[in-house]
Symmetry: C2
Subunit: 297 residues, 2 copies
Amino acid sequence: MQKMQNVVVNVNGQILTPEQASVSVFDRSYLYGDSLYEVARTYKGKPLFLHEHLLRMKRSAELCHMALDQPLEIYQKEMQRTLEAFLSLPGQAAVEAYIRIVLSRGIGKIGFGLNCLLSPTQYTIIVQPLNPPSDEQFEKGFRFRVVDRLRNDSRALDPAMKSGNYLNNLLAYLEATNDGFDDALLCNSEGHITEGTTFNIFYARNGIIATPPLDIGILHGLTRHAVIETARQLGYWVREVRFSKERLYEADEVFMTSTIKEVFPVTQVDNSHTSPGPITKKLRDAFRSRVPEWLNA
Amino acid sequence: MQKMQNVVVNVNGQILTPEQASVSVFDRSYLYGDSLYEVARTYKGKPLFLHEHLLRMKRSAELCHMALDQPLEIYQKEMQRTLEAFLSLPGQAAVEAYIRIVLSRGIGKIGFGLNCLLSPTQYTIIVQPLNPPSDEQFEKGFRFRVVDRLRNDSRALDPAMKSGNYLNNLLAYLEATNDGFDDALLCNSEGHITEGTTFNIFYARNGIIATPPLDIGILHGLTRHAVIETARQLGYWVREVRFSKERLYEADEVFMTSTIKEVFPVTQVDNSHTSPGPITKKLRDAFRSRVPEWLNA
């Protein structure tokens, strides 16, 4: 394994270097992707929406028939402790952090039967330098391909559950980048846009903002939620509606939201081009300006 | 980790005890379920269809945009070598073996971008005692629930790809066993039966055998294939057709096929009961009687 700089890992409460951090090959995360995860980021060294991320992890656990048998505060405390170990590395105090928690059902005999663990018995927390897109990238925006691959149907595997089963997203990503795009958008079987591989999607037309509704089968994005709320505060009409890819082609502005990329312009969808627009910029700025308020909430 | 008896593990060519065998938490199998697998079994110490399992792994790799950059013979040789280590354990020579290979894209930085590995860089082979169902269990048969959860749509995540994304199957299993059943059958969004969590499904009515077609989006079961071929040799008409769960309720016999369980009777589907029937028994016996021929092919 190539040496990873400035990365701190916590495995079941033990702070380790990345090279030391491992799981058994009998861990169900390795065998079945039978795990959940969340990703948070810091602002000035403080993690944003950490409790909300853990609440979402709890909802993921319910969707996955996994019983969290210890209070969320334990995970929150361990994430904080790992973050502090990261921030105390030489030169890291000024760097923002990416914080990932993975929760696995843990080690069991191979097979589902008899010994299927209901509670997670393994967790890993990874803290590493945040690598957000630059202002230059903001001006360029992202170029997205609406891929043929469908988003997982929520009746089969609910995208609202943030799990270790990530191949649907990964394969969509590979298909889009293989066509020269930055990333992928996925439709459902009715041809409606759902979300991207790791982000929610919005468009604006004639001053009205639209984004797919939660019940279409998407991740309940925390940034998505905060942006909708912020936009409404600013007086925008935000519609949560089903739409096909053509609506993105015709939009005045397209943007995506995610924990890491906040509000970010999409300047190409398939063969249709736009520029980073005023609503996208206004929402990005408004989102950022509200961060201190959320951190102190 | 509880001590596992009589289990041999091979991680990237190194033979290890189960307790020693681990992968990095940065392995994509752990983070994304970004891995493939196959399971074979032995008859009198010889693995059946090993080459066919590896050919299927190669097809899974294509579906997963993973390039196998070393010849399948390397994996086959390592599986044989691990099997021999298992058989040389005290008292194991008389025991049949379960052989699992897991192939992972390996370690990369978190995120899809930039460093997305196209070839697998990590593999694990696990050999342990086979635990097939007993003759007594054969007489009782399995009790299956047709669960509400749908099978993954092949346009989202193709069930023909045997991957480390196994939550769809696992959640179906948990839902069925929670209702007191042994295992689950899954339908597609049109209400057609597809397959079970780890097996293919058949029924017989009026002497005619039926099973869902491959293009409905199911695993291309090697035992399924061998059983269809064997049944046709015996003069049965085998239809590969779409059908809803009601056809299983009305069937004379229902049976499942898998590498480990071969041909096995299903004596209950939801609230509908049958007994292990003559066709099921005849096919199980015929399958077993052909094993020496296949082993020498």
